[in-house]
Amino acid sequence: MLISWVLVSLLLFSLGIYGVLTRRSAVGLLISVELMLNAAALNLVVFNRFLFASRMDGQILTIFVIALAAAEVLIGMAILVMLFRRKKSVDVTQLSQLKH
């Protein structure tokens, strides 16, 4: 049934949010973001399959999502490396120069 599929992806998405908000290390943060992206992509495919079975748009979009996820992780990692080199740690809680 559609609702159970959507609930699952929603649950995955919330876990991703939990991960983003609590992880202290930047890498952990990226991992949770990946999780959220994957849940969103799943949701797309589910809706395409259940509601618009005759069309392919959902899946095409998922491919784009996957491509974007890749690009995002790459940039994330590059920044992470730079950060690590500067701060000698990837603890997100120390990055608070934007306070005021």
Binding site: M1, L2, I3, S4, V6, L7, V8, L10, L11, L12, S14, L15, I17, Y18, G19, L21, T22, R23, R24, S25, A26, V27, G28, L30, I31, E34, L35, N38, L42, V45, V46, R49, F50, L51, A53, S54, R55, M56, D57, Q59, I60, I63, I66, A67, L68, A70, A71, V73, L74, I75, M77, A78, I79, V81, M82, F84, K88, S89, V90, D91
Partner: protein
């Protein structure tokens, strides 16, 4: 039936990725989740998608994450144990989010038991044609854009991570 099994396993793995203190182990669990969601795609009849998922996600992105974990092997953060307050706040936020969206979903019109239609004809040809067709709902423009995007990301990734001239 398979659906429930798969869901149970994925949820356990997802919980593990989020909760484990050890970053490396969480990367591995992430790989598990992504692989099993490829299974989902198979269940939904999108074989090509499942292949892509396995290839790109699991093969590419997770490997990249593992590299990153190896590279930033700083002593203090092997065990990422967030403070109680952060856990509490994080849990509270995700719980409210889940509660509100689930409540919205259950009350919305999606709640009717919509069965999976049987006559779905998915195939890679149709998807390929759709990617390159120019009229109607063709995806030629996003297709080109995504390629440019990937190119810039590649270059900038290298530039960013280059070691500064000391």
């Amino acid at each position: 039936m398979i659906f429930y099994l798969l869901t149970f396993v994925i949820l356990v793995l997802a919980l593990a990725t989020v909760l484990t203190r050890h970053i490396f182990r969480s990367a591995i669990y992430l790989m598990g989740v992504l692989a099993l969601s490829a299974g989902y795609y198979l269940l939904l009849g999108a074989e090509f998608l499942a292949g892509v998922q396995i290839l790109v996600y699991v093969g590419g992105i997770v490997v990249l994450i593992v590299f990153a974990v190896m590279l930033t092997q700083s002593q203090d953060l092997i065990h990422d144990h967030p403070s109680r307050l952060r856990k509490m706040l994080g849990f509270l936020t995700s719980a409210t989010f889940f509660g509100v969206s689930a409540w919205a979903l259950l009350n919305s019109h999606l709640n009717k038991n919509i069965e999976m239609p049987s006559d779905a004809q998915f195939s890679a040809q149709i998807m390929g044609k759709a990617f390159l067709s120019t009229e109607g709902n063709g995806y030629i423009l996003p297709f080109e854009l995504i390629s440019i995007l990937l190119l810039t990301v590649l270059i900038s990734g290298i530039v960013l991570a280059k070691k500064e001239k000391v």
